[in-house]
């Protein structure tokens, strides 16, 4: 009994999706995205449930049995009313989904084109198969990205070779890093912690290893850290 309970609870844990990085956001952008994930999921569950209920009901009720084997079902061409129903209702459902989609897509893009006044700028360079982060004061870091809490960070994304994609699931994203043209991404982390960062666009042999660590510090700690690194290079 205990065992079954344990298995069940771990299955529930898997299914409930708690702790899944995308659904455990640490920035406003990621929060908006996580909201969209859950909102669209909820809407879609209405569709899914409807189909499953009808499916099970019809398949069960109208299965062939020994008694009705020789019956010939009545001819039926269709039903205008039904057909209009399942055309119109989905359109309404999608309209409901489209509103936040448009709103949030615009917000995320808009925040990437304007530059907030107190922003931190970081030059991100992707190359096969590592990430380099250059801070405004000249500090250069490889595979480790340190960010301040509660300040917008403007990432200037450039690639030295092929296409890569910059992704920190808990902070939101992702943005392709394409050779030849700088792209920008703005994120504002709002919780201290260490988060995984990954290359999300297949870029060759060791794409799987092209990761980085993102460390979000309080603004105090961040300043100290920057200074310390600066001294190191001088």
């Amino acid at each position: 009994m205990r065992k079954i309970y344990m298995i069940l609870s771990s299955v529930l844990l898997i299914l409930s999706g708690c702790n899944l990085r995308v659904l455990d956001p640490k920035s406003q952008t990621a929060k908006d995205q996580s909201f969209l994930v859950q909102f669209s999921f909820a809407l879609m569950m209405i569709v899914f449930a409807t189909v499953i209920v009808l499916f099970v009901w019809f398949v069960w009720k109208y299965r062939q049995t020994e008694e009705n084997k020789h019956k010939i079902p009545e001819d039926e061409k269709g039903n205008r009313l039904f057909e209009i129903t399942w055309t119109v209702l989905p359109i309404i459902l999608l309209a409901v989904l489209a509103v936040p989609t448009i709103k949030i897509t615009y917000e995320i893009s808009a925040s990437s084109s304007a530059t907030p006044p107190n922003a931190v700028h970081i030059d991100v360079t992707a190359q096969q198969f590592s990430w380099t982060f250059e801070y405004q004061n000249g500090v250069v870091q490889t595979s480790e990205l340190v960010l301040p809490k509660d300040r917008p960070v403007v990432f200037h994304l450039n690639s030295d070779d092929v296409i890569h994609s910059f992704w920190v699931p808990k902070l939101g994203g992702k943005k392709d890093v394409i050779p030849g043209k700088e792209r920008r991404l703005i994120l504002t982390p709002d919780e201290v912690g260490t988060y995984q960062g990954k290359c999300a666009e297949f870029c060759g042999k060791d794409h799987a290893l092209m990761r980085f660590e993102t460390i979000v510090k309080t603004q105090e700690d961040y300043k100290q850290w920057l200074q310390k690194m600066k001294q190191k290079i001088e």
Partner: protein, 639 residues
């Protein structure tokens, strides 16, 4: 693996070596068995045939072979990913990348496509009362070109130069600066050659359906599989030339030093646009025919005509149209701006509407019907909930801002396998079980069919459901390893177990085919109590199936005849002129020459390019001189 011969050392990767041994041994065994059973004449008949049913069988047979190959690659991928930081055999780094690249490429182009085109060849002419395809010779050319392309992509592995830039071959990774090996040249030429075959097949289908329907079969009386074939063929006709152009440009960038996709003036984004302008319609190309199969199968085994026939046809057409207006949903993370992104988000969402209409129409076809759980019907029933999962995740993916999280993660891998296996592959299995009697005059075994179905479908969900969660937990696709701290081990492990169940299911299918030929259950014309014309002709379908030519008066002529006319179809007074059957070695010769031509390019042998090029052109001349129409006219004059 290194070995020594004549004082020299040779290196061959152990996986390639094993593949060579396997292929050579099974080739030898096959040769022996064919010779022993004295089957060479049958093989010759198939190789030189231009008959639609035989060509259909050839398509299905090659698709099954390639399904096994790409399936083995799927298992290799799953084994390497079963546990974190795995170091299994040679499948890390490039070897792994090659495995998923050829897995994806082969599954899409050399499994999904030929399964469906094969079924079209077998069923469509019979369903519309045609004697054969409109252009039988061209039909054979289509098949052999397809096979030549498929062999090119498949042989790359044996030449230790597999394509390795993903099935999407994104530039600049796919240009020669970053992948100088021959691998991606095989990709370019393989798809190019088979693409010509596909375009020809589409033209053939369109003309057949437009010109060769039985008297009285108006378009509004045509069964839904031919309808979906017609619409799919138009999609192919528009989408495949885009791929042709994209591959052509990529070839120039790789071989002749142009810079369309790199450098100052060029841009890698061009490739993405071209690829997806082809690529998104392509996914509808491989799903719409499956929709057609499901419509026919569900209607037959519910003993009812399909619910809402007109809206079914309109939905197919709208899906086809919208399919050309959504390609940017594969590029939401490129940064094309909010206007573009939201526009394509909305068009993508819109596709859900006609798809939903189809789902509900299928459900209501079963309502008040009489459902028989035969194997083809089981696959169709398995399709509905599975495909709906793929559909709802599709709508979730269309939400542009959210897609920036899903994009290129395992969530996407889960989504497209739910649609492509849940739709295309289940549809193809349904079609194969359903029309097998028309191909060979025997039924596949029902019990083994059920084993196949349950193992495959349960295995499928175990494999792919957890991938949604792995993706949401931040696992990118196309990675050969992950770390324990990524917390995706459990999903991957479960997934690997599921993949082996699917493998067992596939074995049950192959065993079923073997058993069904060994202890054949011969069937009559109409084993399923069918509704459409193909069930009025003998099984297997003869060379001249419709004599006398039936006159069609309803959507399900055979059903109506069985109810009201004691099973006899009304006869038409005049028949349409029939295409001329020939047997010819030319199609396979042409395709073989195209293969040599491609290899000459892949390995930069200018002299061979010239010779093979002349060879290819001379087939055009030969064909012009041996046109069977001339012969037939002359024979008629002499009579």
């Amino acid at each position: 693996m290194t070995f020594y011969l004549f004082d020299r050392s040779f290196y061959i990767a152990s996986d390639v070596l094993l593949a060579y041994i396997t292929v050579i041994l099974s080739g030898a065994a096959l040769f022996y068995l064919i010779t022993k059973a004295n089957k060479w004449p049958t093989i010759k008949k198939y190789v030189t045939t231009t008959h639609h049913r035989k060509i259909g069988v050839l398509y299905l047979l090659s698709a099954t072979l390639f399904f096994i190959r790409a399936g083995i690659e799927a298992l290799i991928i799953r084994i390497q990913l079963a546990v974190p930081e795995n170091d299994w055999w040679v499948f890390q780094g490039d070897k792994f990348n090659e495995a998923f690249t050829t897995h994806g490429t082969i599954m899409i182009f050399f499994v999904a496509m030929p399964l469906l085109i094969g079924l079209m060849n077998v069923a469509v002419p019979l369903q519309i009362g045609a004697r054969d395809m409109a252009f039988p010779y061209m039909n054979a050319v289509s098949f052999w070109l397809f096979l030549a392309g498929a062999i090119l992509v498949n042989m790359s592995f044996f030449m230790t130069a597999s394509p390795n830039a993903g099935w999407t071959a994104y530039a600049p990774l796919s240009v020669s600066t970053y992948t100088p090996e021959a691998g991606n040249d095989y990709y370019v030429f393989g798809l190019q050659v088979s693409g010509i075959g596909t375009i020809l097949a589409a033209i053939n289908m369109i003309v057949t359906i437009v010109r060769h329907r039985a008297p009285g079969m108006k378009l509004t009386r045509m069964p839904l599989f031919p309808w979906s074939t017609l619409i799919t063929s138009f999609l192919i006709l528009i989408a495949f030339p885009v791929l042709t152009i994209a591959l052509y440009i990529l070839m120039f960038d790789r071989m002749f030093g142009t810079q369309f996709f790199t450098g100052e003036a060029g841009s890698p984004i061009y490739w993405q646009h071209l690829f997806w302008i082809f690529g998104h319609p392509e996914v509808y190309i491989i799903i719409l025919p499956a929709f057609g199969i499901f419509s026919d199968v569900i209607s037959t085994f519910s003993k009812k005509r399909v619910f809402g026939y007109t809206s079914m046809v309109i939905a197919l057409a709208i899906i086809g149209l919208l399919g050309f207006m959504v390609w940017v949903h594969h590029m939401f993370t490129v940064g094309l701006g909010p206007l573009v992104n939201t526009f394509f988000a909305i068009t993508t969402m819109l596709i859900a509407v006609p798809t939903g209409i189809k789902i509900f129409n299928w459900l209501f076809t079963m309502r008040k019907g009489l459902i028989r759980f035969t194997t083809p019907m089981l696959f169709s029933l398995g399709f509905i909930p599975t495909f709906v999962v793929g559909g709802v995740t599709g709508v979730m993916l269309s939400v542009a801002a959210a897609d920036m999280q899903y994009h290129d993660s395992y969530f996407v891998v889960a989504h497209f396998h739910y649609t492509m296996i849940g739709g295309t592959v289940l549809g193809a299995f349904a079609g194969i079980y359903y029309w097998f009697p028309k191909m060979f005059g025997i039924k596949l075994k029902d019990t083994l069919g059920k084993w196949h179905f349950w193992l495959f479908v349960i295995g499928f969900h175990i494999t792919f459901f957890p991938m949604h969660l792995a993706g949401l937990n931040g696992m990118p696709r196309r990675v050969y390893t992950y770390l324990p701290k990524d917390d995706v081990f459990i999903y991957n492990f479960v997934s690997t177990i599921g993949a082996f169940l699917m493998g067992l299911g596939t074995l049950a299918f192959i065993w079923n085919i073997y058993q069904s030929f060994k202890k054949p259950d011969y069937t009559g014309n109409d084993p399923w109590d069918g509704r459409t014309l193909e069930w009025s002709v003998p099984s297997p379908a003869p060379e001249h199936p419709f004599q006398p030519m039936p006159l069609v008066k309803t959507i399900d002529p055979l059903w109506e005849a069985k109810r009201n006319r004691g099973g006899k179809l009304p006869e038409a007074e005049s028949a349409r002129s029939a295409p001329i059957d020939v047997t010819s070695w030319q199609p396979i010769g042409l395709a073989g020459m195209m293969m040599v031509f491609s290899l000459a390019f892949i390995y930069h042998q200018t002299w061979l390019q010239i010779i093979a090029g002349i060879g290819v052109l001379s087939f055009f001349v030969i064909r012009n001189l041996t046109d069977e129409h001339v012969r037939v006219t002359r024979e008629e004059e002499n009579e």
